[in-house]
Amino acid sequence: MGRTAIHLTVNGRRHEVSLSANTTLLTALRDLGYTDVKNGCEIGECGACAVFLNGEAVNSCMVLAHQADGAEIVTNAGLGTMKDPHPIQEAFADAGAIQCGFCTPGMVISTKALLDRNPNPTEGEIRTALSGNLCRCTGYGQIVAGVRLAAQRLQQSASSPASASSQSEEGQEPASEKRVLASGEQEKAGGDSK
């Protein structure tokens, strides 16, 4: 079967790639170097491959790459970097919401999807929002704590914009505009281990 060209904009960077019809968005992203998108179950059970596709959090293993032709995709690494992490990524690290790290990129995506709509979720709402993301190490307690911490910090920074994402113990500088990563220079974010 032939390959045809599609365009994907990933974390702000535009790519043109020739792909066969049976390539999933997950495979396409990883082959482009976005290895923060994890290949877990490939049947939509685990959420490790979650990305934002035109603003909606989805499992990239269940989207054909051609169905995403022309789409805007944001992965975990597009939210923040090691030097300049997103408040959610920082909160996950501070709360110990990461053990092996494999589920973390997907957890961060689902957390952002939740907090964008519901800045102050209850524990039940957090658990529901993360129901499509499986973690096999932490037992979820720390992850829920991480989401709560992120929600707290985001709300604080929303009420005092000057201190945006500067709440970590390291006392980092306030976050500047998030730098967009090119696929060749990806930094590992959020306990990325593979």
């Binding site: 049947i43 939509g44 959090a57 054909l64 169905q67 499509g132």
Partner: protein, 316 residues
């Protein structure tokens, strides 16, 4: 790795129907949440996929005359956000909250869930109690079928290969309609239904049940309504009207519960489903018809779209 296939990506509904007319074995794909899994496992190996996921003609919810029209490409997540669904068919939101998980709900579509026709489809029982009809379109025209005629069996519907399910029509329920849905699965959320029960009673201005609907999912090859159980409820008087009809009400509920239990397909290991269907039906009917007597259960569990104590009904 997925098996190889040709992918066509029509830009209009007309174009999609022409492709299906020319190649009826072509398989439509929208959210892909069932299809990709089945292709990966080798259960399905279509030579051609027709991507209808992005078609503008298939992605609206609107009101027309006395109907809600839900296009086939509307996602389960979109049901949760829509004010018309919230007002007129809130049972679809209770169903949607129990449907798979948040990531899947952003891709899975109403039409896809119905066409896939898994016995454990969550959309089917909820839409059955709303008297939904499906609209099927091909290059030779449009036809409408009541949902209970459309659903034939496990993974089997009346859709012809050249047809697309384009929309679902739901008559807007009367003001006195009360609805409830409960799903029982192996987990609280992100699971397939072991049993779904959907219930609706239309109470008139005089406080009498004029019309009832009960549908059961995941307990037979296809979700089905239980007309005899529905009839057993007509004429019942909800408890808040006073206790004079209490005996009649209790008899109606128990008769409905008994009849609903009989619909469970007898299969090895499925006896628990019969008990579960009875228990859930009794609980849902009681919550809709004995509201004032069960005030302690009242926290958001009553009226349109309620889900008393449902596993996976109201989330975690």
């Amino acid at each position: 790795m997925l098996p190889e296939f040709n992918l066509t990506r029509p830009s209009t509904l007309t174009e999609a129907l022409e492709i299906l007319a020319a190649e009826p074995q072509a398989q439509p794909i929208a959210g892909g949440t069932n299809l990709i899994v089945d292709m990966r496992s080798g259960k399905l190996a279509p030579a051609t996929l027709v991507d209808i996921g992005g078609l503008q003609e298939l992605c609206c919810i609107r009101e027309k005359d006395v109907h809600l029209l839900i296009d086939a490409g509307v996602t389960i997540a979109e049901l949760l956000d829509d004010p018309m669904i919230a007002r007129d068919a809130p049972i679809l939101q209770v169903m949607a909250r129990s449907f798979a998980n948040t990531l899947i709900r952003n891709r899975a579509t109403v039409g896809g869930n119905l066409v896939n026709a898994a016995p454990c489809s969550d959309t089917a029982p909820a839409l059955l109690v709303l008297d939904a009809e499906v609209e099927l379109m091909s290059t030779s025209g449009v036809r409408k079928l009541p949902l209970d005629e459309f659903l034939v069996g496990a993974f089997e519907t009346r859709r012809q290969p050249s047809e697309l399910l384009t929309s679902v029509r739901v008559p807007i329920p009367p003001g006195g309609a009360r609805m409830a849905f409960e799903k029982m699965g192996l987990r609280k959320i992100s699971c397939m239904a072991k049993v779904d029960v959907a219930v609706r009673v239309d109470v008139d201005d005089a406080g009498i049940v004029r019309n009832a609907r009960i549908a059961v999912g995941a307990a037979s090859a296809a979700a089905l309504r239980v007309p005899k159980a529905e009839e057993a409820l007509v004429g019942a008087v909800p408890a808040e009207q006073g206790l004079k009809g209490e005996q009649r009400l209790g008899e109606g509920i128990e008769e409905a519960v008994r009849l609903v239990g009989e619909t469970v397909e007898p299969r090895p290991g499925s006896e628990y489903k019969r008990q579960a269907v009875r228990g859930i039906t009794r609980r849902l009917l009681s919550s809709l018809l004995r509201r004032d007597l069960r005030a302690n259960d009242a926290k958001g569990n009553h009226g349109k779209g309620s889900s008393p104590g449902g596993l996976g009904g109201e989330g975690v």
